[in-house]
């Protein structure tokens, strides 16, 4: 079974510092990592490959530096990597990104399944996965927490919802977006790291994927950023001191006073 994993390189916010005077993220020197949700997507794809004897292709759209994310995916067990990169893609919103990724997928290979992380931690939209499915005219299920069954032309998944989960079946090819609960990603293996160093990465430009100029980059994006600003940092409140009993009394009366309890 052939699986394509779509990933994104994002700034690592794990060890990020907040500038205490401005309350904004200190972005200088922040390293780039694979979007955390995409690690679950990569792991799930590799597990499917191991069960069904297929191939996993990882694909990203981004600047040339995103190659390092692809190499890391190879170290985690992915077979092939595709970098979709062109200055003409810059400024793409989720519509133009979905279009570009769908065009790239059409260019590269036959596939049974596409897996994306639920959302990226920088944009937080969760829109590109379903958008790619629509552009490719295949079904999708978002928020998948478990693949119950997968075989040629068929899969059954559990979709996480606010009040529980739904069990859904669908024909392949299809696209799923996955949440953290689906698996525990493995660490890169030594062999994987060796492979990742020498792996050839397929480079795709706007021309190679036959992208329509009016559908890519900022030009092809229906949404435009009007302004970007830092929200005022959240102000701390008051400290409640005293014995546990006094503290509890003060707190409950404060909450009651604001009619929240």
């Amino acid at each position: 079974m052939n699986v394509i994993v779509c990933i994104k390189q994002v700034p690592n916010t794990t060890n990020v510092q907040i500038d205490s005077t401005t309350g904004t993220l200190k972005r200088e020197g922040v390293e780039s990592i694979i979007n955390p949700f995409d690690e679950y997507a990569i792991e799930e794809a590799v597990r499917i490959k191991e069960r069904t004897n297929g191939k996993v292709t990882v694909l990203t759209m981004g600047p040339p530096q995103a190659e390092s994310a692809l190499r890391e995916a190879i170290a985690r067990g992915v077979d092939n990597a595709v970098l979709v990169s062109d200055r003409a893609f810059a400024g793409a919103d989720t519509w133009a990104t979905s279009y570009t990724i769908a065009q790239a997928i059409r260019t590269i290979a036959e596939y049974d399944l596409i897996i994306c992380g639920k959302q990226a931690t920088d944009g937080d939209t969760a829109q590109v996965g379903p958008g790619v499915a629509e552009m490719l005219d295949i079904p999708h299920v978002a928020y998948v927490k478990k693949i119950e069954e997968i075989k040629p032309n068929y899969m059954k998944v559990e979709r996480m919802m606010e009040d529980g989960y739904d069990i859904i079946e669908m024909p392949l090819p299809a696209l799923i977006t996955v949440v953290k609960e689906i698996n525990t990603p493995r660490l890169p293996s030594l062999r994987g790291m060796m492979n990742s160093k020498k792996a050839q990465i397929l480079q795709l430009t706007a021309e190679k994927i036959k992208a329509e100029k009016d559908n890519i980059g900022l030009t092809g994006s229906p949404t435009q950023v009007m302004k970007v600003f830092s929200p005022p940092p959240r102000q701390g409140g008051m400290k409640i001191d005293g014995s546990p009993e006094e503290v509890a009394e003060t707190l409950v009366s404060k909450l009651k006073g604001s009619q929240l309890v």
Binding site: T14, V16, T22, T24, L25, R27, P36, F37, R87, A88, A90, G91, D93, T94, W95, S98, D122, D124, Q127, P130, G131, E134, P139, H140, Y143, E158, M160, M161, E162, Y165, D166, I167, I168, M170, V179, K180, E181, G217, S221, P222, T223, V225, K227, V228, F229, S230, P231, R234, G236, M238, I240, P244, V247, A248, E249, L251, V252, L255, L260, V261
Partner: protein
């Protein structure tokens, strides 16, 4: 011509204001050994730049950054053909989702400003009786699709019918809840009808001069806010975060129109098949809808610690949440996790018991109205952002809070 952005070398003094302002980390300072004062120079990485203009704003004083945006492509869309505000009336198992009443309230405010009607679209099975509820909460018109094919939410038929209706009726704005359902299929609809979609908005307004919807949303986990426009495409679609806007008041005397459009269920795209719903029995109160959330973290020290968290949640009528650390330790299921890789919540009160407040957790609950932090470490980030910070052992303090609440309730 494509978009162009450049740094005017003579004007740049290497102050780094632009570097700090760039939400995408696309600007770096490089040395300029040839410069008489050895000033640094800002360089923009065009692969990362999205031409948002934040740097130009930051560089106002020096005017060293020049941005030329490409002429918009010529579209066959005349925005004046699109009128009215629509709210997608999401339902789950036959009940209208709470976010819908918030959308009716905010949508109603915008409709008044634009002087257009507010419509709702209701898709489900045996659902028609709910149309009246939507009218009582502010809808002037409700489009109803009541058919067994819609009994459970599936992306294919729901996106197909909504896309068709939007193309026929041409509203100018469509608001949907940023719920699992809304975020799953709104993007499919926007892709089908080639329009813009802005995710998880926390503030909305309209520009009366051009009827543009100004959609403000957090990005980078809430560390920056962006205001987004869909200037040339219609309808302007947005998903809106739950609990940001107040729900509309019910008015039983309100009158409205119910519209049932004929459609052929056989012709709808319908590739997925719904088998079963399994309810989460571990949660008495749904995290997303809860007004009060009591969360426990690493500071609990042991899985049994969640008993006291559950007890407080029950006493105060709230839901149980957790930090990632507690989930990763296997103390509580992932469905309770709040934060970057879990859920984003904005309750009225958030209790953080034994949660230090890593940035990944803060971004998932930082917009709560009131934060109560109970922690042994007075210097941890959670204690700094808390409305009420209580230093001490949660096992000493929480039982007293439970006792006090029970006393007040009785």
């Amino acid at each position: 011509m494509s978009n162009q952005i450049k740094v005017i070398q003579d004007k740049c003094i290497g102050c780094a204001l632009c570097v700090k302002s760039c939400p995408f980390g696309a600007i770096v300072l490089v040395d300029r050994p040839e410069h008489p004062k050895k000033l640094k120079l800002a360089v923009i990485d065009l692969h990362k730049c999205t031409f948002c203009g934040a740097c130009m704003e930051a560089c106002k004083k020096f005017g060293a950054i020049e941005l030329i945006k490409e002429e918009p492509i010529n579209l066959d869309i005349d925005p004046s053909h699109y009128r009215g505000i629509w709210v997608y009336a999401e339902q789950r198992h036959g009940e209208i989702s709470p976010v819908v009443f918030e959308l009716l309230n905010e949508g109603g405010r915008l409709a008044k400003k634009l002087d257009v009607p507010l419509s709702a679209i209701l898709i489900g099975s045996n659902i028609e009786s709910k149309a009246q509820t939507l009218i009582q909460h502010g809808a002037d018109k409700v489009y109803v699709y009541d058919h067994p094919i819609f009994v459970e939410f599936l992306d294919d038929p729901y996106s197909d019918i909504l896309a068709h209706l939007l193309e026929q009726e041409k509203p100018e704005i469509v608001l949907m809840g940023a719920t699992n359902i809304g975020r799953s299929f709104a993007s499919r609809v926007a892709a089908k009808i080639r329009t813009g979609l802005t995710a998880d908005c926390t503030a909305l307004d309209v520009d009366l001069s051009n009827r543009n919807l100004m959609q403000t949303r957090p990005a980078f986990g809430g560390n920056i806010m962006a205001t987004i426009l869909t200037p040339r495409h219609r309808p302007q679609m947005a998903t809106v975060r739950h609990k940001v806007f107040k729900p509309s008041q019910k008015d039983e005397s309100r009158k409205g129109e119910i519209v049932k459009k004929p459609f052929d269920a056989e012709k709808l795209i319908n590739r997925t098949n719904f088998l079963q719903f399994i309810k989460d029995t571990s949660a008495k109160v749904n995290l997303a809808d809860a007004d009060i959330i009591v969360s426990g973290g690493r500071g609990l020290g042991k899985p049994e610690g969640f008993r006291i968290i559950e007890e407080l949640a029950e006493a105060i009528g709230g839901a149980v949440g957790s930090s990632r650390a507690a989930v990763d330790s296997g103390w509580i299921p992932y469905s309770h996790q709040v934060g970057q890789t879990g859920r984003t919540v904005s309750p009225k009160i958030y209790f953080a018991c034994g949660i230090s407040g890593q940035i990944q957790h803060l971004v998932g609950m930082g917009s709560s109205d009131v934060i109560v932090a109970i922690n042994k470490d007075p210097h941890c980030p959670m204690m700094k952002v808390a409305t009420y910070a209580i230093e001490g052992d949660l096992y000493d303090i929480v039982p007293w809070i439970i006792k006090e609440i029970k006393k007040q309730n009785s």
